[in-house]
């Protein structure tokens, strides 16, 4: 049987890490992109079979080396999950207090990075009639105060995803924009340090829901 192949960005923490573990358990070959070597080393300790790729999807210069390395290691691609995400500013701010550079950072990580990586990987995805998932947020749909850079970038990502979906269907590639809900992740506590963990979803639960959605769509 052909082993399915998945590439996950931001895959050493939270939802990405949970997805990597669950897809490996389902016998996928899984490659994970992350910026920091320490996180990748920890992931490899937990899942020695995972392929660790160090790079930053917000950097244009990193995209082709990452794409080429991923296709080499995975020998093709069936599933691309754009999970890496940035709040923009290190803490939540009014949009009026947000520096242009902080907003740019959110757009590079949350919009342009996924756009570039998808573009670089359309060939292998066409060959496998593969799937692309953009991890979204309800901040893409609701104008929450203080979430300006993040919300605006996630809105752009959501729309990007819908346009990809429309345009790529002729190539047999399916595209999904998916909101995992508010999860107990480092990013959530970075945004809201006083958040009550009990009111937040376990990323493992969100990962299970996403996989069920994908499996459902495939059946």
């Amino acid at each position: 049987m052909n082993q399915k192949r998945a590439l996950i960005t931001g895959g050493t923490q939270g939802l990405g890490k949970a997805l990597a573990g669950q897809l490996l358990a389902l016998d996928y070959r899984v490659a994970v992109i992350a910026r920091h070597a320490e996180g990748l080393a920890e992931l490899r300790k937990l899942h020695p079979e995972a392929i660790a790729l160090q790079g930053d999807v917000s950097r244009k210069e990193d995209i082709y080396p990452l794409a080429i390395q991923a296709i080499h290691d995975l020998r093709g691609l069936d599933l691309l999950v754009h999970n890496a995400s940035s709040l923009g500013p290190p803490r939540l701010k009014l949009l009026a207090d947000t520096e242009c550079e902080e907003f740019e950072n959110a757009l590079q990580t949350n919009v342009l990075g996924p756009f570039r990586l998808t573009k670089a990987l359309l060939g292998p995805l066409m060959e496998s009639r593969g799937r692309i998932v953009h991890i979204g947020s309800d901040a893409a749909l609701h104008p929450y105060s203080h979430w300006g850079a993040y919300g605006a970038s996630k809105a752009a990502l959501h729309h990007l995803s819908r346009i990809w979906e429309t345009e790529l269907s002729t190539l047999g590639i399916q595209v999904l924009s998916w909101d995992p809900g508010d999860m107990r992740t480092a990013m959530h506590f970075q945004a809201l340090p006083d958040a009550d963990p009990a009111g937040l979803k376990d990323p493992e639960t969100s990962a299970r829901e996403l996989i069920a959605r994908l499996e459902g769509a495939a059946s």
Binding site: K60, I63, I71, H72, R75, L122, M126, E127, E167
Partner: protein
Amino acid sequence: MKFSAADRVAKGAFGKTLVVTERESIRLRPASELPALLRPGDVLAYNNSSVLPASFSGLHPVSNRRVEMRLVNLLSPIAAEWIDWGALIWSLEPGPSEPWRVPTESRQPAPFIREGDRIELGGILAVVRESQGQNRFSVRFIDEQGHPLRGVLPAMLKAGRPIQYAYHRQSLDLWDVQTLFTGPAVSIEPPSAAFILDWEGVSTLTQKGIRLCPITHAAGISSLGPIEVDAQLPFPEWSYLSEGSAQILNAAKEGHSRIIALGTTVARCLESAYRLSNPLKPGWFLAEGKLGSEAPALFIDALITGLHDEKTSHYALEGALIPSRRAAEANAMAAAAGLKDHEFGDFHFIENQSLRAPHREPVPV
């Protein structure tokens, strides 16, 4: 009549011209009309290989001189990954900040390099294994202890940059030299006929019922320097057919559907595969020999390629499909229209006129 060189990055069909050489006519069409030349059921075979950054700058510690090493072709068996290479090494004279502006045929040789010497290439080490004359060597990527460097790809991606062209206006980044397809990273230079396609074109072809079929072929270097040395090209190159692609191609051949090779690398892959086995077998194989008037194309029905000067090995390959008189006519028409050659230039669709010729014994390719 010579072409002018396409000297800037320009991908996709927009603004490009396609010379169409068919049995009855030679004509010029906008390259965006490529889908109109193809019929439902045709198979368009493309080379999905990614392009490696194959140029490395570094130091030859024995002489303390700066050098450029440019990969030529992969020598290792494919299973051993990217360890052993044919390479060109030049001495880099102090001075120009863009040393690739010096045409390769005018570069300084590196006679001070001996077998066994190490070369430090910005985070990656190579050892010279054999001198092959001129500036050519066989080299091996090694670790600090001198062992073959397994898993060399990340270091290559970090230390290398794409091969640059003296005639090009700007330096090329890694994304400039990739085609749409981002498959196995085995090519040294772009399989540039694929630059005729953008995703609009791919969608149009797909919707018209033309089947796209990937092959992988390790495109080697396109020029060694002096044109008489280039006559040796192409060297043996690794090629791969997946099971799915072999099935598509065999079914097309059996059903008399046309098979169109997008690029000379695809032509070489398919013609070599056909000479090794009919029906085609999946797997890696080494494509050796040369297509040309003495070794006609027996498998493909047409070739889409760039425009090639009459002294190049790519032009000689056109002789595998059409008589040299016909190729010269097409070139004359293209040059008179001001069309451009090289990686980002115009294109040539060549219907194979040797296929229906009396049966000839295959010449190994």
